[in-house]
Amino acid sequence: MVPPLYFMVLGAIVFLIGMLGFLTRRSLIQALMCLELMTSAVTLTLLAIGRTMPDGGLEGMVLATFLIVIGAAEVGMGLAIVILYFRRHGDATTDDIDLLRG
């Protein structure tokens, strides 16, 4: 078997890629994709840790199932927000999102 540790490392790496991408992308859709990457990475890590448990990873699998559902909902909502934003502003870049600027 592949040791769960490798999956955890992979998960960490993917998470990092997703995080860096989210923070630096101009395009909103690209940011959403990176978000999805982060979610996936978390799911992977969760499964890997579940595998280390005595019950054979069942808890991890249950939580991963939850995460899939949540990820789906989250993407749907995120896209809806992007579409609305696009309708208002005419583009989907992060340049002018500074309404919360103090």
């Binding site: 995080m19 989210f22 630096t24 992060t94 999102i97 600027r101 103090g102």
Partner: protein, 654 residues
């Protein structure tokens, strides 16, 4: 009919005082009444209020009550028709009450309270005819002069209280006698202060200036105040506190002051033309006698003379008032032959004059003799030189006393004159009563008799008789009388009734011309007689003229009063400049401090507050930069902080 009118209070007080006297005689030296209740007490020490009656009080009380009763009745006649009649009697009654208070006071503070009340009443009574400017001036002069004495009195009382914590008279005297040897200097000063109070009240030199002017008041006032009561209060004070004076060896000063005043007063009286002023100077002189007696250790003599003087001087004043009432003038130069048409008044005045001159067997003789006897005792046993001088001056004064009194009597009452109206009976009856008392009151202290005033005051003592002294004093009186008679006869004979210089000339002329005119009389009478007159009268008259010019009044008015005023204005300017400057300075300092605080407040406190606010704003502005609005930034922060927290928690758990 008059006695029925006697005020009920006066009647009762007279009865009460006689009863007290009888009690006191029986008690033989033990105080009859000593009842007090606590009055002002703070923490166990204080001053009581109450009565203290011993032999001295009882005797003086009888005299005061009797004289007051007589003068009251007299005053109802004299003041009749006066529009402020009731005001007069109100003040008069208050005065009498306060005199009783002084005599029966149980402690010095109480005595002082009543003493002051007397002073105020005297002011009101002397200034009774306040429409007259001289009455107003006289009232002020009297009050202020006695006030100066009161200051000494107050200081003495305060000092005594501070040391002994009691002012109760018998207790205080006992304490003083116990500790006397150790506090001589202090005690002497206290005695001197107290004596100043007595001096002022009793019109002794140099505080006598108020008494002659006080004659501006109604005659009953003089009859009571300036004979028996107020002026006697000064002597009474010394009598009351006599153990203290003895303990401080102060009596020589008293004797000196007293005998000087006695002579001085007599000299001044000799050339006075106002009948009441003559009596005023006479009072001053007689009080001097009492003081001199006290100074020579003659306690009993002084009390005796106080009592007899109260009676006969009051009688004289009342008679003078009667004459003034009838003759409408106070100047003796304008009164002649009053005796013809006012016989009762004349007789009363004669009795009074005989008593004052000291002609036996009237009261004044025995009391004056007692005074002289005490001086003799002093000269024999204590201080020969001083005592002899005092005795000689005393005798000279006795001659002069007779002289001035009879000068007035002969000049006013004898010879031909106008028709005068005798006074109403309401005025005459008291005079007659006083005259009868004057005749017999000498009996209270006859030498060699065991029941006497001496026995009352110093139990067990019997007055001794000094026959040659008695003879001497009687002849001194007689000499004075004779001189007066001669001078009056001469004056009448030569029709010289002008002012003093003329009288002097006449008397000079009379003395020198006498041998020529009355050669036969020369052969019959003792030559010593005329020689004595020639030696005595000339210098005396010269001296009395000089004395009347001395007039401390002027000195007081020109020097003392402006001096005090200058001091007052100087002090006031100091007050304005220094005190006000100090106050202003404090104010300015306060103002400066306030400005400083305000400045600190504005700069410091406000600065701090503003600084905090500004700092907060600056912090906010800085932190605001963090809020870019860019989601990615927020996400980055979240991630970074999440990592930090993770590591911190890991580290902590580890």
């Amino acid at each position: 009919m008059v006695l029925v009118d006697l005020d009920r209070v006066a009647r009762w007080s007279l009865v009460a005082s006689v009863a007290l006297l009888v009690d006191a005689i029986g008690a033989k030296g033990v105080p009859v009444v000593h009842a007090t209740f606590p009055w002002m007490v703070v923490g166990g020490v204080g001053v009581d209020f109450g009565l203290y009656v011993d032999g001295l009080s009882a005797a003086v009380l009888v005299m005061v009550a009797a004289v007051a009763a007589m003068v009251f009745v007299y005053a109802t006649g004299y003041m009749k028709g006066d529009e402020r009649y009731s005001v007069f009697f109100a003040i008069f009654s208050l005065f009498t009450a306060s005199m009783f208070g002084v005599v029966t006071a149980s402690n010095l503070l109480q005595l002082m309270v009543f003493w002051e009340i007397m002073g105020v009443c005297s002011f009101l009574l002397i200034g009774y005819y306040y429409e007259r400017p001289e009455a107003r001036r006289a009232a002020f002069k009297a009050f202020i002069t006695t006030r100066i004495g009161d200051m000494g009195f107050l200081l003495a009382v305060a000092a005594l209280f501070a040391r002994f914590w009691t002012l109760d008279i018998p207790t205080l005297m006992a304490h003083i006698e116990q500790v006397a040897p150790g506090i001589q200097g202090w005690l002497w000063v206290v005695c001197a202060l107290l004596f100043i109070g007595a001096l002022a009240k009793s019109a002794q030199f140099p505080m006598y200036i108020w008494l002659p002017d006080a004659m501006a008041g109604p005659t009953p006032v003089s009859g009571l105040l300036h004979s028996a009561t107020m002026v006697a209060a000064g002597v009474f004070l010394v009598l009351r506190t006599y153990p203290m004076f003895e303990a401080a060896s102060f009596p020589p000063m008293i004797a000196g002051a007293g005998i000087f005043t006695a002579l001085f007063g007599a000299l001044l009286a000799l050339t006075e033309t106002d009948i009441k002023r003559t009596l005023a100077y006479s009072t001053m002189s007689q009080l001097g006698y009492m003081m001199a007696a006290l100074g020579c250790g003659g306690y009993v003599a002084a009390v005796f003379h106080l009592i007899t003087h109260g009676f006969f001087k009051s009688l004289l004043f009342l008679s003078a008032g009667s004459v003034i009432h009838g003759a409408k003038t106070q100047d003796i130069r304008e009164m002649r032959g009053v005796g013809r048409t006012m016989p009762i008044t004349a007789a009363c005045f004669l009795v009074g004059s005989l008593a004052l001159a000291g002609i036996p067997p009237l009261a004044g003789f025995f009391s004056k003799d007692a005074v002289l006897a005490s001086m003799l005792g002093y000269a024999q046993h204590v201080a020969p030189f001083r005592g002899t001088i005092i005795l000689v001056v005393g005798l000279m004064t006795a001659v002069l006393s007779a002289f001035y009194m009879f000068r007035v009597y002969f000049g006013v009452f004898t010879g031909p004159g106008k028709k005068y109206h005798e006074s109403p009976s309401r005025m005459l009856v008291p005079m007659v009563v006083l005259a009868s008392i004057t005749v017999v009151v000498g009996a209270i202290n006859l030498p060699g008799v065991s029941f006497s005033l001496a026995g009352l005051l110093e139990p067990g003592k019997v007055e001794e008789a000094v026959p040659w002294l008695m003879a001497l004093s009687a002849s001194a009186a007689g000499a004075g009388l004779y001189i007066a008679w001669e001078s009056t006869r001469l004056r009448a004979a030569l029709h010289g009734t002008g002012p003093l210089p003329r009288n002097l000339q006449i008397l000079y002329g009379g003395i020198f011309l006498k041998p020529v005119f009355f050669v036969s009389r020369f052969l019959r009478e003792m030559q010593m007689d005329q020689l004595l007159m020639g030696i005595v009268v000339n210098p005396v008259l010269w001296a009395c003229e000089l004395a009347s010019k001395l007039n401390p009044d002027v000195i007081y008015m020109k020097v003392l009063v402006p001096g005090v005023q200058w001091a007052a204005s100087a002090l006031s300017s100091v007050d304005v400049r220094v005190v006000d400057a100090a106050v202003m300075g404090v104010g300015r300092a306060g103002l400066g401090m306030a400005r400083g605080f305000g400045f600190a407040d504005r700069r410091g406190v406000d600065g701090a507050v503003n600084g905090v606010a500004g700092g907060t704003l600056a912090l906010g502005r800085t932190l605001k930069k963090l809020q870019t609005g860019v989601t990615a930034n927020y996400a980055l922060f979240m991630i970074v902080i999440g990592v930090v927290i993770f590591y911190v928690a890991w580290w902590l758990v580890r």
